[in-house]
């Protein structure tokens, strides 16, 4: 026993003080990308740059941001690497990124309608991704469901209890999807769409990966995801399909150098590599399947690979306002949680009732009942805050720990939750009334 303790202690001390990371060519990266993405890039980068090792630490986007904040006094990270552009906006605002001018030249400025790089030079797009709907073909066949084409399709009665989404508060990409819908359709219409689709949700997963996983395994039929989830699942052989809805956007996934990076030189090498055509080609790997921002690379892409620089559907895509999104991130996510995630049972109940009542009305119409259902739908769609309020200082302050005293986050949450619960209950009452009339 004693010998054991001594041995362990000796082992511990020797390992602790050994210069484990002595070579200064280690580049420490925090990323939300999965190993499917990072492993091939790491392998090819290290091959192309012998002597530099990438230390890749996996954190979801929000945890990564928070980690940089908590540790800024003594930063040990070189690179922040993630999808969501607004996370980079947050970091930029907090002076947690540093400027850099990549050596790679001649890349396009925009993908779709979206500028690829930060105009101030704090972060750079290296791959494009769009948002859409992914589904399991075996599931669809077994349940005899049609292929969806647009967000509103998912609100149809047929899809009741068949749809999954990740919580936008937990998933940077889902947050962008939600923001895209809100910006594309407008605040009120966007929330109406979201709530109507949400009425068909089976589950709201805690992580981005929960959705493709559930669709891949067939636990859920349809998922609202970022495109590469579906492409890499297809690459792995899963029976899944993907579609870009009309209201969507293609946004770049980004990379940035952390302020006070211990290995700034190595970090720069990595950024340049990602943007080089060599690095861009790695994105075509079956497990990655992201859209390169270097148009030339598409020559090597397999057939059917979407090309945002050529395919017509991309040119009509909307312009995504990063500033708008960044200002209200916490508010939008909290609204989603309070109105949808934590009221899902109520929302589903009333949605199901509407589906049933409308099915009954389709057989025997009753204008009064139709009117009641419209009222109910409006009631469900109504929002506790307007678009202006959502970006206002009073409300955003509750989520950012603003110094001045104001509304507490918990207070607002309770107000919104009560608002949603009461409205859903009232809507349910109206639908029940309508159902009686329809009978």
């Amino acid at each position: 026993m004693n010998r054991f303790v001594l041995l362990a202690a000796a082992l511990a001390t020797s390992a602790m003080f050994a210069p484990a990371h002595a070579q200064n060519s280690r580049v420490a990266i925090t990323t939300s990308f999965s190993k499917d993405v990072t492993d091939p890039i790491k392998a090819s980068f290290e091959k192309a740059n012998p002597g530099i090792t990438l230390d890749i630490q996996n954190r979801n986007t929000n945890a990564g941001v928070k980690y940089l904040e908590e540790t800024r006094s003594n930063n040990q990270l070189d690179i922040f690497w993630a999808s969501a552009p607004d996370a980079f906006e947050v970091l930029k605002d907090k002076d947690l990124l540093q400027k850099y001018e990549p050596t790679v030249k001649g890349l396009p400025d925009k993908v779709g309608a979206y500028p690829i790089n930060d105009p101030d030079g704090f972060y750079f797009g290296f791959a494009a991704s769009g948002y859409g709907i992914m589904w399991n073909t075996r599931y669809a066949e077994a349940n005899d469901l049609p292929d969806p084409k647009d967000w509103q399709d998912l609100a149809k009665p047929a899809y009741f209890d068949h749809v999954a989404i990740a919580s936008p508060a937990r998933s940077g990409t889902t947050h962008l999807t939600v923001e895209t819908i809100l910006q594309g359709e407008g605040w009120n219409e966007g929330w109406r769409t979201l709530k109507e689709v949400a009425g068909n949700f089976q589950t709201i997963t805690e992580r981005s990966f929960g959705v493709p996983e559930a669709v891949n395994s067939g636990q859920v039929g349809y998922g609202i995801v970022i495109d590469f989830f579906a492409f890499s699942a297809q690459g792995a052989g899963f029976p899944v399909k993907f579609v870009y809805p009309t209201v969507t956007t293609v946004v770049p996934a980004n990379v940035g150098i952390v302020a006070n990076a211990p290995n700034k030189e190595g970090a720069a090498t990595f950024v340049d590599y990602l943007l080089s055509s060599e690095g861009q080609k790695v994105l075509l790997e079956p497990t990655i399947r992201r859209l390169p921002i270097n148009p030339a690379v598409y020559a090597d892409a397999p057939d059917g690979y979407p090309n945002p620089f050529k395919d017509p559907q991309f040119s009509s895509m909307m312009m995504f306002d990063v500033d708008k999104s960044g200002a209200r991130t916490a508010v939008v996510d909290t609204l989603f949680d309070q109105l949808i995630s934590f009221q899902l049972d109520n929302l589903k109940e009333v949605t199901k009732a509407i589906h049933e009542a409308e099915a009954a009305l389709d057989k025997a119409d009753n204008p009064q009942a139709r009117a009641l259902i419209k009222e109910a739908r409006d009631m469900i769609a109504s929002m506790p805050v307007t678009e202006e309020q959502a970006s206002s200082a009073e409300i955003t302050g509750a989520f950012t720990g603003a110094k001045e005293k104001g509304a507490r986050q918990a207070e607002l949450e309770q107000q919104w939750a009560t608002f949603a619960r009461d409205n859903y209950a009232k809507a349910k009452a109206k639908v029940d009334e309508a159902a009686k009339l329809a009978r």
Partner: protein
């Protein structure tokens, strides 16, 4: 005379040896540094006013005024309670049949019963979805054959189901030990007075085993109450621990509510353990007179035997289902909306092989160091509490046990807060040392090892120590030459529990892992599971983790058995 014995080693005039006091202070400092201060640094936010930082209780008010939090609180109670019930349903027959009857395979059942504990938390949930989910194998078959689905995994059901399978070994282990320790004469006396069968079990055997059952059940309750990984994996968010985690790691990091929930978690856990301790008071049935050596094992009649095997097999099939599913998944090419995978491959193992070596090395190092720290601390605390009269020694026990009630996330954040500012000579922060992960793991698992050490020391007659001192051994020497060797079985058991469970711990590790090269297996699993291209590699790593920890556990069991035989303490 009993009075004399309980007044074991009293303070002596003029020679109050400083040794125990020094050790006690060192332990107190350790606990303060690595448990109390980090926890407090997180918890105090719960009592500060937004913006001003002044002390306030308004946050606590907000908590109780919030529907979501109250629903979460209720759900957490509901899930924890039902998990205890379901876990008891699994554990009771296994414990009873393997200790009470002459049952072939008892040893295997007891070993298999330990396995669920070392299933890394979220891997189990993923595997369970594949088997029992809405479109899992079972439900697909049921739907094909009978046109029905059983909502095993829907909402809170799933959490209860997965948690009961994961944590039922705590009840099994404690209850089996308690059943085995009941002196045969107790049972014989009851039989002699005309009691038998179920009545005998209900009136004598179960009451005597009650302390063991309560110890296990309260542990399960607290673990489930504090666990966040399983509910989150099953996408259940309206429970307390997930709420705390979600807030602390996303929107709400600046909001005190996450910390308020952490406070509520700690309060409920401490209360649960306190109530179970109250239930013990005056019910210490340690039946010390040996000789009978455990319950009489009865032979079963053929029909009974058939029933017993059926029950045991069904329970084992259920509790080992996650392992089966995980193994299938690790060899599966595509497993989508079908009862079984489309085809099998070993590619996933090849994929993780190179990475897994690093993770395995780290895991073995961290978990065994954590285990060693735990048994050293556990032995020292047990000795100080049971064998000295130091003022405040009970506080060491309480503080160390309270670690059970501190959610891993809270501890992880506390560590970042407390130690990130502390710099090493080379300028790197203290938290960048992997040793911090070890310390967090050690603190998290200390209560397990501590209880094992307590039990081991309680079983040693104090006369054995007095005899050593009487022939000239100082207390230090007595501890080394008599106490520790005699406690070895318990110490090793504590080590195994700490080691095995630390090896699959994620929540604290997730916050503290600073570089991939320092990451343990659980973290590697987490990373591999973040894949849209299938969970195969993650499952393969999971299987490797389970096999590894199981192998280490079995190895330690063998060492324990051998050391017991060597010391002539086996029956």
């Amino acid at each position: 005379m009993t009075v004399a014995l309980s007044e074991a080693l009293p303070r002596r005039r003029g020679l109050g040896s400083p040794g125990p006091a020094v050790v006690a202070i060192l332990i107190a400092v350790f606990l303060a540094l690595f448990l109390i201060i980090p926890t407090a640094s997180v918890v105090y936010v719960a009592f500060t006013e937004r913006g001003t930082g002044a002390f306030t209780l308004v946050n606590i008010q907000d908590f109780f005024a919030n529907d979501l939090f109250m629903r979460s609180l209720w759900n957490s109670f509901y899930v924890s309670t039902l998990t205890v019930v379901l876990a008891s349903v699994f554990a009771l027959p296994l414990a009873y049949i393997t200790t009470r009857f002459d049952f072939r395979g008892s040893a295997i059942i007891q070993t298999l019963g330990f396995l669920p504990l070392i299933m890394p938390p979220f891997v189990g949930a993923v595997a369970m979805q594949l088997l029992f989910g809405r479109n899992g194998s079972i439900n697909l078959l049921l739907y094909d054959w009978f046109g029905l689905r059983v909502p095993f995994m829907e909402g809170l059901n799933g959490v209860i189901f997965v948690q009961a399978i994961h944590y039922f070994p705590f009840i099994l282990i404690n209850l089996s030990a308690a059943l085995r320790n009941i002196d045969r004469s107790m049972e014989e006396a009851a039989q002699n007075l005309g009691s038998s069968g179920i009545r005998l079990f209900r009136r004598i055997v179960f009451p005597l085993a009650m302390p063991g059952y309560i110890a296990g059940a309260s542990l399960v309750f607290v673990k489930v109450f504090d666990d966040l990984a399983t509910p989150l994996l099953l996408n259940v968010k309206d429970m307390l621990a997930p709420q705390a985690y979600l807030r602390v790691t996303s929107i709400g990091i600046t909001d005190p509510m996450g910390y308020v929930i952490a406070v509520i978690l700690i309060v409920v856990s401490v209360a649960a353990m306190w109530i179970s301790a109250l239930a013990f008071r005056g019910r210490d049935y340690a039946t010390t007179q040996r000789g009978g050596g455990g319950l009489a094992r009865r032979r079963m009649r053929p029909l009974e035997k058939l029933l017993a095997y059926a029950v045991v097999l069904v329970i084992l099939a259920l509790v080992l289902a996650p392992h089966v599913a995980l193994t299938l998944l690790s060899f599966a090419t595509i497993w989508s909306f079908s009862p079984l995978p489309d085809a099998f491959t070993t590619a996933h193992y090849e994929r993780v092989f190179s990475d897994s070596f690093l993770y395995i090395k780290n895991t073995l190092l961290y978990a065994s160091l954590a285990g060693v720290i735990d048994v050293v601390l556990g032995t020292a605390i047990a000795y100080l509490v049971l064998r000295t009269k130091l003022v405040g020694r009970q506080w060491l026990d309480w503080a160390a046990t309270a670690a059970l009630a501190v959610p891993g996330v809270v501890l992880g954040i506390g560590y970042l807060r407390t130690f990130y500012g502390v710099q090493l000579p080379n300028g790197a922060p203290l938290t960048s040392l992997w040793l911090v992960i070890v310390l967090a793991l050690a603190i998290r698992r200390l209560p397990y090892a501590l209880r094992a050490c307590f039990a081991a020391l309680q079983q040693i007659s104090i006369a054995l120590e007095e005899a050593a001192q009487n022939v000239g051994a100082t207390p230090t020497r007595t501890v080394r030459r008599v106490v520790v060797p005699l406690m070895m079985g318990g110490i090793l058991a504590g080590f195994v529990t700490s080691f095995a469970t630390a090896a699959v711990e994620l929540s604290a590790a997730l916050m503290l892992v600073q570089t991939n090269s320092d990451a343990p297996l659980a973290y590697g699993l987490y990373v591999f599971m973040q894949s849209a291209a299938g969970r195969g590699p993650g499952a393969a790593l999971g299987v490797i983790a389970v096999l590894l920890v199981a192998a280490c556990t079995v190895l330690s069991q063998i060492i324990i058995a051998r050391s017991q035989k060597n010391t002539g303490m086996s029956q």
